[in-house]
């Protein structure tokens, strides 16, 4: 629709240059030349044909090879004109093989007239700083409220039109409430406003809305689209990230009315400000919101370059309104920006500490986000840790020679018990000499090998397992000890199993569930089994030595689990084992029959025929843990190896004082780490210590570097401020210099669009030669200069817009006006348009009373049909789990945004995927939207809660209830005819649900909110059906 309106307008503009005034190059001529000629005769030197450049006057006029290509005032002598008119297919311009149609007679005539008028050029309008034009005089003088209205009115008067009457108060209050807060007015708001006819009443409402915390939430939605904000990494496995502290920063920045220049500086370069605050560093998350890939096999630099390019293009779209991405592979074809200049901007974003192939969920660099209290606590913990480490050092140093002596004999003292294993697997590559003793397993599937705890280890990806014969003695009938090194990379996997897949499930299995070890000895499932799991997760991310001992007692007390040589406290789930748990199945490492394939590494499996003592387990752990450090030469040990040796020495040989100091240091480290681990993270920008040089990338490709470039800005725009540092801070300062031609125009255009549905420039993402021209250029400039002069005061500008006479017009338009100006470019009425996805949902939550108005925090998971994440996620392993409580009823901007499976309730209503920068959403109209609003669990629950809300006050008749229903949803009372229609529906549905109480209970039972559960189900169901109908009114989903 918006595109259509744009085209219609373009047609109107292009076909009707005034016959009596000279042509305006920017308005009348450039769009045509840009669209049809500049691709081959414009700024892109490499693509230029016939050595003819038409976008620069001097070059166009320069004769070449005796041909006068453009002769001002003499169209018939201009080669340009002759070629346009040529009847020969090999001569005519534009060339027919270009895929386009020939120029129309009107277009030909336009060019002729332009040449005849002297072929004047003008700089592109948006590259000239805005002028603070005086508001024009108008014939009508009482209508304008602000000067801005005079710009609109003057245009209307020129067109012979007059403004629409002012909108009805209720309509106006609903409009401004939705525009500024994304929420409808409450009945109390409405009553207060309707009761006060004074002109100040509206201004008071506007101030109230601007001061509401909901204002920042509403403003953030558009900014999140532009900043491609999401809660996942986007590519391939699409892991979850913690980006929400940045989102909260945005909400807060709008609410405290952070001036737009500062808003810009902090997001682009907060980390480079002098002594940046935590909030200023979080703000830089703007340029970390792009997707990142963790797909094994991608080329690191290729993706790193994509991330930098994404920043360049997003920054250019959001602040400059320029399609800079077009200049990545070659000079821009329409705007005067060279490829070299593109890489000059690229250089600003190229110096960060980052990688292309990203493994952690939260791609570094990240910041631990603290409240002031947490910050103090963290400092205390850090201090305690360093103090404890210092004390340890004092008592440790004198033991150096003792430690060296111990190191020489340690290997002999530590290690596995002398028992011959019953089964073993060393995970050495095929062809290695098998170690003596014990049955070795058979590998099924292909294992990759790399350095492990002892020798090599194997890497599993869910498709391999190692098998031992069925007579391997692992059951409840005899004692045993299992020893295995594991490093799992998935949260739920089977480490080993000798168990029946179904039926009694007789046998033994060991599982890893988010770091907790589960051990099941089953004779008959439930009836006779021993099931335990470690109470706390064991360490994750590194190798863990896992030992399980069992004394054949068939009691939980006879089973112990050790992690890294220390006994782990167990939680006993079942302790009624009464049989031997013997089966005829093989023992498998890395898989259970029914699945749960193992992902991660394994090393050194042993099965022994007795239950080891804790001391033996500890000695075994140290033996294998220290195998590598002890084997290495003293000088070749890394810090970790040295620490491990100290740990073991202290434990086995240390004097009590040393042991105490060592334990204290370990505890202090653990406290700090634990505290830090639970802090939220924010993705931030951080420059590398060594700046990375930037080179032009030929064809934009990461592996085709050309000449080196310095950070810089395009020559066609103003220069950098003299004192600007050559980094992002300098770039940000340049963007907000008061005379910048683009930044303020682009910003106010978005604010205008927020209040009027469309920008004054219809292409909010393109202020270049291919973009739309402003419908009211002087007004745009007036607003831009005023915005800058106000200190980039966003709330003040919005207050100005929504209190204008232009804004307050009615949206009702007689057919003749609609026909004349279908897209409302002239603003002879207020626009009406379907609400954005978030507003429709938030309105339903607000009207029903379900809305939980908590601001900020981690993302939430409201209702969503099951199966959507499984359908796309790696191996179907991710499941969307609806939040149990208030997460179902928070505002939609807090909904968890998974890029590869975006929330359908927002997607269906034109929400973007958040993979790329979006500054204006399309507005489509599809049957799926109707299905969503009528059938989604969340919307049905909201209708039920809304029904309960209108039913709640005692002694209210159905008419009063119907009236309240309308007031809650569309902020006005129904007329008698509407009320009659609602009552008719209610009567019929009441009868229907009284006849079928079971159906009533089913409908009233949708969702978990308690609202109305104490009412007669038939009454509640009938009113739910009515409430659904009102929530689906065109008026409810439309901003009028």
């Amino acid at each position: 629709m918006r595109r259509a309106t744009f085209l219609l307008w373009l047609l109107a503009a292009a076909s009707a240059p005034a016959a009596d005034a000279p042509l305006d190059y920017n308005r009348d001529v450039r769009p045509l030349l840009s669209n049809r000629c500049f691709k081959c005769h414009g700024p892109d030197a490499a693509a230029r044909r016939g050595k003819f450049r038409l976008d620069v006057r001097e070059e166009a006029l320069a004769p070449r090879d005796g041909l006068v290509r453009l002769a001002p005032g003499r169209p018939d002598e201009s080669e340009l004109m002759l070629r346009i008119l040529s009847p020969h297919a090999d001569e005519v311009m534009p060339p027919p093989d270009d895929g386009g149609r020939p120029l129309s007679p009107a277009e030909q005539a336009l060019i002729r007239r332009w040449i005849a008028e002297g072929a004047p050029y003008a700089p592109h309008w948006s590259l000239v700083p805005p002028r603070n034009a005086a508001p024009p005089a108008t014939r009508e003088v009482t209508w304008p409220v602000h000067d801005l209205d005079r710009f609109v009115l003057a245009r209307l008067e020129r067109e012979g039109l007059s403004p629409a009457p002012v909108a009805a108060p209720a309509t106006l209050l609903r409009r401004v409430s939705l525009d500024l807060t994304g929420l409808p007015p409450t009945p109390a708001d409405l009553d207060r406003f309707l009761a006060d006819p004074s002109p100040a009443a509206y201004a008071r409402e506007v101030d109230r809305l601007l001061a509401s915390p909901a204002f920042g939430e509403r403003m953030a939605v558009d900014w999140l689209d532009a900043a491609r904000y999401a809660d996942t990494n986007g590519f391939f496995r699409d892991n979850t990230r913690q980006a929400w502290p940045w989102r909260d920063w945005v909400v807060d920045a709008f609410n405290r009315n952070l001036p737009f220049d500062q808003f810009t500086l902090e997001q682009l370069a907060g980390d480079l400000l002098p002594e940046p605050s935590q909030a200023q560093r979080i703000a830089t998350g703007f340029n970390r919101n792009h997707g990142v890939s963790g797909e094994t096999g991608i080329i690191d630099e290729e993706y790193r370059v994509e991330y930098v390019a994404d920043r360049v293009e997003t920054t250019a779209t959001v602040w400059l309104g320029l399609t800079l991405g077009c200049a990545r592979c070659h000079d821009h074809k329409y705007d005067p920006i060279s490829q070299r200049e593109y890489f000059g901007l690229f250089a600003y974003f190229n110096g960060g500490v980052e990688r292309g192939l990203v493994n952690p969920d939260d791609p570094p660099p990240v910041l631990d986000v603290t409240t002031p209290g947490q910050k103090t606590r963290l400092a205390e913990l850090r201090q305690a840790r360093t103090a404890a480490e210092r004390e340890l050092k004092v008592v440790l140093e004198p033991t150096e020679s003792a430690r060296e002596a111990w190191t020489r004999r340690a290997a002999a003292e530590l290690g596995a018990p002398p028992d011959t294993p019953l089964a073993r697997h060393d995970f050495e590559p095929p062809g290695s000499e098998p170690a003596p003793g014990g049955v070795a397993g058979t590998v099924h599937g292909y294992l990759n090998h790399e350095g492990g705890v002892v020798g090599e280890a194997a890497t599993f990806d869910g498709t391999q397992h190692v098998e031992f014969p069925a007579d391997t003695p692992l059951s409840a009938a005899q004692p045993w000890t299992l020893s295995l090194w594991v490093r799992p990379s998935n949260s739920l996997v089977c480490l080993l199993a000798k168990i029946e897949p179904a039926g009694d499930r007789t046998g033994v299995e060991v599982l890893w569930a988010k770091g907790q070890i589960q051990v099941n000895l089953v004779d008959r499932w439930v009836a006779s089994a021993l099931e335990v799991q470690t109470r706390d997760p064991v360490r994750r991310g590194d190798w863990t030595h896992l030992v399980i001992t069992y004394d054949a007692s068939r009691r939980a007390a006879g089973l112990r689990v050790y992690a890294d040589g220390r006994e782990a406290p167990l939680q006993i789930t079942r302790d009624n084992l009464a049989g031997p748990a013997v089966n005829a199945l093989p023992l498998r490492l890395g898989r259970r029959d029914s699945g749960l394939g193992y992902y991660g590494q394994m090393d050194q499996f042993r099965l022994l025929g007795r239950a080891l003592s804790p001391a033996e387990v500890r000695t075994w752990y140290w033996g294998e843990r220290l195998a590598r450090p002890l084997a290495a030469a003293a000088g070749a040990r890394d810090a970790r190896a040295r620490d491990l040796l100290v740990d073991c020495f202290v434990e086995r040989e240390g004097a009590p004082a040393l042991r105490a100091a060592h334990a204290a240091a370990a505890a202090a480290r653990a406290s700090e780490e634990e505290f830090r681990a639970q802090l939220p993270k924010a993705l931030v920008m951080q420059e590398a210590a060594q700046p990375r040089p930037t080179r032009v990338l030929l064809r934009g490709q990461y592996d085709a570097p050309g000449e080196e470039v310095r950070p810089g800005v395009p020559a066609v725009l103003p220069p950098l401020p003299g004192d600007a540092p050559a980094n992002r801070l300098g770039l940000a300062r340049w963007l907000v210099r008061p005379d910048h031609p683009l930044t303020a125009r682009v910003a106010v255009n978005r604010l205008w669009a927020l209040c009027f549905g469309e920008g004054l420039v219809a292409t909010a993402n393109d202020f270049g030669a291919q973009g739309a021209l402003p419908t009211h250029p002087e007004l745009l400039d007036w607003l831009a200069t005023r915005y800058v002069a106000s200190g980039w005061d966003t709330k003040a500008l919005l207050r100005l817009l929504v209190t204008s006479a232009t804004y307050r017009q009615s949206s009702v338009a007689p057919p003749a006006l609609r026909q004349r100006d279908p897209a409302n470019q002239l603003l002879a009425r207020a626009p009406s348009f379907r609400l954005p996805a978030e507003m429709i949902r938030d309105q339903a939550l607000a009207a029903s009373g379900l809305l939980v108005a908590r601001v900020g925090g981690p993302p939430v998971k409201p209702y969503q049909p099951p199966g959507l994440w499984e359908a796309v996620s790696y191996n179907g392993e991710l499941t969307y789990e609806i939040d149990p409580g208030e997460g179902r009823w928070r505002r939609s901007l807090y909904t968890f945004w998974k890029r590869t499976a975006p929330p359908p309730a927002l997607q269906i209503l034109d929400g973007p995927t958040r993979e790329t920068c979006v500054v204006s959403r399309p507005r489509t109209n599809t049957p799926l939207q109707a299905l969503l609003l009528l059938n989604d669990e969340g919307y049905v629950e909201a209708a039920r809660a809304l029904a309960a809300r209108v039913l709640a006050p005692p002694r209210r008749n159905d008419r009063a209830r119907g009236t309240e229903l309308f007031r809650l949803v569309v902020a006005r009372a129904p007329d008698p005819e509407e009320l009659a229609a609602v009552e008719g529906l209610l009567t019929r549905q009441l009868r229907r649900y009284r006849d079928d109480p079971a159906a009533a209970r089913r409908l009233a039972g949708v969702g978990v909110a308690p609202a109305g559960r104490d009412r007669d189900p038939a009454e509640l169901a009938a009113w739910t059906a009515v409430a659904q109908t009102v929530l689906n009114l065109d008026e409810a989903v439309t901003r009028r």
Binding site: D238, I298, R818, G876, Q907, A1025
Partner: protein
């Protein structure tokens, strides 16, 4: 699956609705929004009609996600048996990029396929023993053995094939088709998506909503997921305890209230809202019938194989694809996951082939029998091929293959494609294309051509540029046209 939108009505119906609209609103100007609802793209300067007479009216895209091994399925290289285990000549690898998974590998042993190949049909096309049913229809198929792509990892490669660009942000093929051609069915979406997971033991690689997203095209061109569990189309079912009669009553009341508002507001777009809800109601009525396979004769299930009775399998999705094609759905996109055989290729590839062989062949036969193959274009293939060398260790009965963009095979059938034809050739190692290379953009240009669309003219203006599915590349591969 992020579902999205949108039936469009055929012209006749559009006219009818317009008359109704004029009669009701008496505004005399019709509704832009209504027109856009009925024929998305109409107002955007899009063709919403072919550029020239199409050979294919609809597409069934059988996407084998993960990269099936051309070496073990179609591109027979008997000489590799002799070289099995030898080091792949470094000169052959040249500067071609390897993925980070094997670029550090010390040895690149040539790995012959473990499977038997035979020639089939009049065309004599080679097909491996893993695809016996496909072997039976080779004379209907047009093999392109010279496909190539510069992308070497899943995410960028699938995104390139389906959107013409390795990075996110562009519209998918199906959404371009919806935008360019609209729908033939007034009650069903123009672009539908059906997903299935393979039987391979190896975990299935992920999919991304962007693969059926509309990029910068209006969102009503997004693919609509047809699901095998829960609501077949998201939110299709009325809430529990609310039956069709209540819904009808609600919609009638809603329409009356909306028309009352239209009188007040003088806004013809309100009539669009009424039409939107009526189309939703019709969709609720028509989709369950479409998905209810109860009316399929037993021989259908026999033809598509036993899995076709199990919802959500590739076989069941093939049967559904035929039913969607019969009802005029423009673009039917299937994704079958699990074709990423880095390891354990012999066992896993057998399982994957077992999933798709019979139903895929049955689909082509079924379409032919019903007279639909002539104007339905069927595509079978993945995002890239696999390496001639083994990833990791080469064993007697086991090997794996890494991603390979240098060459891969896919097949086309029906819809104006030359049947029984084999296009292109690869070298003796199956590493590079040696004759008639077909780039991803060439394939997409050709597929659009078959739909009656000139890939250089199917454009959409975004950020000042006229974007195409084929970017600035692509040429129609004339020899594969019938």
């Amino acid at each position: 699956m992020p579902a999205a939108p949108q039936p469009h009505l055929p012209p006749g119906n559009l006219a009818l609705t317009r008359r109704q609209l004029l009669g009701r609103t008496a505004t005399g100007i019709g509704s832009l929004a209504l027109a856009s609802l009925l024929r998305p793209g109409l107002l955007a300067g899009a063709p919403a009609a072919p550029h020239f007479a199409p050979k294919a009216k609809r597409v069934i895209y059988l996407f084998m996600h993960g990269g099936p091994s051309q070496l073990d399925l179609f591109d027979h290289k008997p000489d590799l048996r002799r070289r099995h285990g030898e080091e792949l000549p470094a000169s052959l690898r040249g500067t071609q990029r390897l993925t980070g998974m094997t670029s550090g590998q010390k040895a690149f042993p040539v790995t012959a396929s473990l499977f038997q190949f035979a020639r089939h049909g009049r065309s004599g096309a080679w097909v491996s023993e893993l695809l016996p049913h496909t072997a039976g229809i080779v004379d209907e198929l047009c093999f392109i053995r010279s496909m190539h792509t510069e992308a070497i990892n899943h995410d960028p490669a699938v995104t390139l094939l389906q959107t013409g660009h390795q990075q996110p942000g562009r519209p998918s093929f199906g959404s371009w088709a919806s935008y360019g051609l609209g729908s033939e069915n007034r009650d069903l979406p123009a672009f539908t998506v059906l997903l299935s997971r393979g039987s391979a033991a190896r975990p299935a690689d992920p999919l991304y909503a962007r693969l059926w997203g509309s990029g910068f095209l209006p969102s009503n061109h997004q693919g609509v997921g047809f699901r095998s569990a829960g609501d077949p189309v998201l939110y299709l079912s009325n809430p529990p305890g609310l039956d069709a009669a209540t819904r009808r009553d609600q919609l009638d009341t809603l329409a009356a209230l909306n028309r009352r508002a239209a009188e007040r507001q003088l806004d013809p777009e309100i009539e669009t809202r009424v039409a939107q809800y009526e189309m939703a109601y019709r969709m609720q009525a028509s989709v369950p019938g479409l998905l209810d396979l109860g009316d399929e004769p037993a021989r259908s299930f026999e033809a598509y194989g036993p899995q076709s009775r199990v919802p959500g399998t590739f076989a069941a999705n093939c049967l559904l694809a035929r039913r969607l094609a019969e009802r005029g759905v423009r673009f039917i996109q299937l994704y079958h996951r699990g074709w990423d055989q880095h390891y354990n290729l012999p066992s896993d590839l057998r399982l994957q082939a077992g999933d798709v062989d019979q139903p895929g062949a049955a689909l082509v036969r079924d379409l032919k029998q019903r007279g639909l193959l002539d104007d339905t274009l069927v595509i079978w293939g993945g995002e890239f091929g696999r390496t001639t060398y083994s990833q990791g260790r080469l064993e007697a009965a086991n090997y794996g293959r890494d991603h390979h963009g240098g060459c891969f095979t896919l097949w086309l059938a029906g819809g104006g494609v030359k049947p029984g034809y084999i296009h292109g050739e690869t070298d003796e190692f199956c590493y590079q294309v040696t004759r008639d290379p077909v780039h991803v953009h060439d394939l997409n240009a050709t597929l659009l051509h078959l739909l009656g669309l000139d890939h250089t003219r199917l454009t959409y203006r975004f950020q000042g540029r006229d974007y195409r599915l084929t970017d600035v590349h692509g040429r129609v591969i004339q020899p594969v046209l019938a």
